[in-house]
């Protein structure tokens, strides 16, 4: 066996690493995640399995036959026709053509539709257009068809939205005012999530995706939880996938709670229990990739978070594996050698129910 392994850094840079250095990074990545959430590190056997996946000399790897999982998506069909900002390849396809191509040519397990801005707030004013497209496409698709967007509470702050800007108030020491602004934004956001979800539910929505919940901190995550709760009350049969924005929820407010638990600081093992309590059907787990660490380090860390999360979850857990999450390098065009190793490790060692 060669003493060096071809791998990547978290920013995608390709490099040869000594075997000992790869093992060290695996151990360190596992230890970092385990220490943060208070669970045992991956066993020696699992760490060896992870090493074997990373050391596999083939250009790409895959799971063993029979161990395949559901690969859901968050706006992948938009990547057919959108541009660089959405990771898109700019082909001249309509939304319907993109969805059907993804279903039929790519063999995806689920498909989805989303607005170019991929946030719920801008969807509100064009909801009838979105509902019309969703309904039309749902008549010709066979695989489960989601509508997805991000809660993205940042859009509710001035100058883009109605609420005082919490990020500007905090540096001025106006902590209480900043908290009030976030609570106000949280209420607006939850209302919009329910409004958009309800309108789509009325035209036969098969599944709704709250993608990257918590990106603006604990109030953002709370709004998504409340949105799930309220939609489930109105439409108990509506499947909802609620995904996180990272392994840790930022305490931009700091005092908000859900089910008597503080939201700020929730790691994935706590996030999934909150998502379960709200009534969502699937939890999407995100772990941010550190660009200055190697893929072995990032992947070991993501697998450790994932395994602990799937162990505690009563609902399916899909690991988010887009650019810069769960070990996928943070770049516009993630290398497929790294992507497939992340895919295989999260499924076979992390025990993901889906990706």
């Amino acid at each position: 066996m060669t003493n060096q392994i071809l791998t990547r850094m978290g920013d995608g840079e390709r490099l040869w690493m000594d075997v000992e250095d790869v093992m060290d990074d695996i151990r360190d990545g596992c230890a970092d995640a385990a220490q943060r959430i208070g669970v045992p590190e991956l066993s020696e056997e699992d760490q060896k399995k992870l090493f074997d996946i990373l050391a596999e000399p083939s250009r790409i790897v895959s799971v063993n036959p029979g161990e395949e999982v559901i690969v859901s998506d968050d706006g992948t069909t938009m990547s057919f026709y959108s541009g660089q900002d959405g990771g898109g390849v700019g082909t001249p396809l309509s939304r319907q053509q993109a969805v059907q191509t993804y279903e039929r040519a790519c063999g995806a397990d689920t498909t989805s539709l989303g607005h170019s801005d991929y946030s719920y707030k801008p969807v509100k004013s064009i909801i009838n257009f979105e509902a019309n497209d969703y309904y039309n496409i749902s008549q010709v698709t066979t695989a489960p068809f989601f509508y997805g967007a991000q809660p993205n509470m940042g859009l509710y702050f001035q100058p883009d939205g109605p609420c005082p800007n919490a990020a500007e108030l905090m540096p001025l020491g106006k902590i209480e005012e900043a908290r009030q602004a976030q609570e106000q934004a949280c209420d607006y956001l939850a209302d919009d999530l329910v409004f958009v979800g309800s309108k789509l539910a009325e035209v036969g929505l098969e599944g709704l995706n709250f993608d990257t919940s918590g990106s603006a901190g604990d109030a953002d995550f709370l709004a998504a939880l409340q949105g799930v709760e309220r939609l489930k009350e109105k439409f108990p049969d509506l499947p909802i996938l609620m995904g996180g924005a990272g392994e840790f929820i930022l305490g931009m407010h700091g005092e908000l709670t859900y089910d008597d638990k503080r939201i700020a600081g929730m790691y994935t093992i706590d996030q999934v229990k909150a998502v379960e309590k709200a009534g969502a059907n699937i939890y999407g787990m995100a772990v941010n990739t550190a660009t200055t660490e190697s893929v072995p380090w990032n992947l070991a860390r993501a697998v450790t978070f994932l395994k602990a999360t799937t162990d505690t979850a009563a609902i399916p857990v899909h690991a988010n594996v887009g650019m810069g999450v769960c070990g996928v390098p943070m770049m516009e065009q993630p290398p497929i050698d790294a992507v497939t190793r992340v895919s295989k490790a999260l499924v076979q060692i992390g025990k993901a129910d889906g990706l």
Binding site: R104, G107, G204, L205, P239, A313, A314, P316, G354
Partner: protein, 106 residues
């Protein structure tokens, strides 16, 4: 786009090429974890779990049961008609199908 396709090649069940969509419906409608969902679908189809991702088995089965095939067959159930069959087979409610049925007076 390449990233999504890489994940599909590496880990995906195969969607309507095989039984990926069927297993996904069970996660969505019954909150089933992956092994439970696979076992449920395999039992409904009368096949081994291992064959859920076997194109050679699933292609004929999908064709026979009217679940929609990945290759486009003239006259074969597609879209909402295939989803009606899927909902019936899996004993689940698919919301688009429920709306369609209500419009048809079914």
């Amino acid at each position: 786009m390449g990233m999504a396709i890489a994940h599909i090649m590496a880990s995906c069940m195969g969607g309507i090429r095989t039984a990926g969509d069927l297993v996904a419906w069970m996660q969505m409608t019954r909150k089933m974890k992956i092994n439970e969902a696979k076992a449920y679908v395999a039992e409904k189809l009368g096949i081994e779990v291992f064959d859920l991702t076997n194109e050679e088995v699933m292609r004929e089965l999908r064709k026979d049961l009217g679940l929609g095939t990945v290759t486009s067959i003239a006259g074969g159930p597609k879209g909402i008609r295939a989803k009606m069959k899927i909902a019936e087979l899996l004993d689940i409610k698919i919301r688009s199908v429920e709306l369609f049925k209500s419009q048809m007076g079914l």
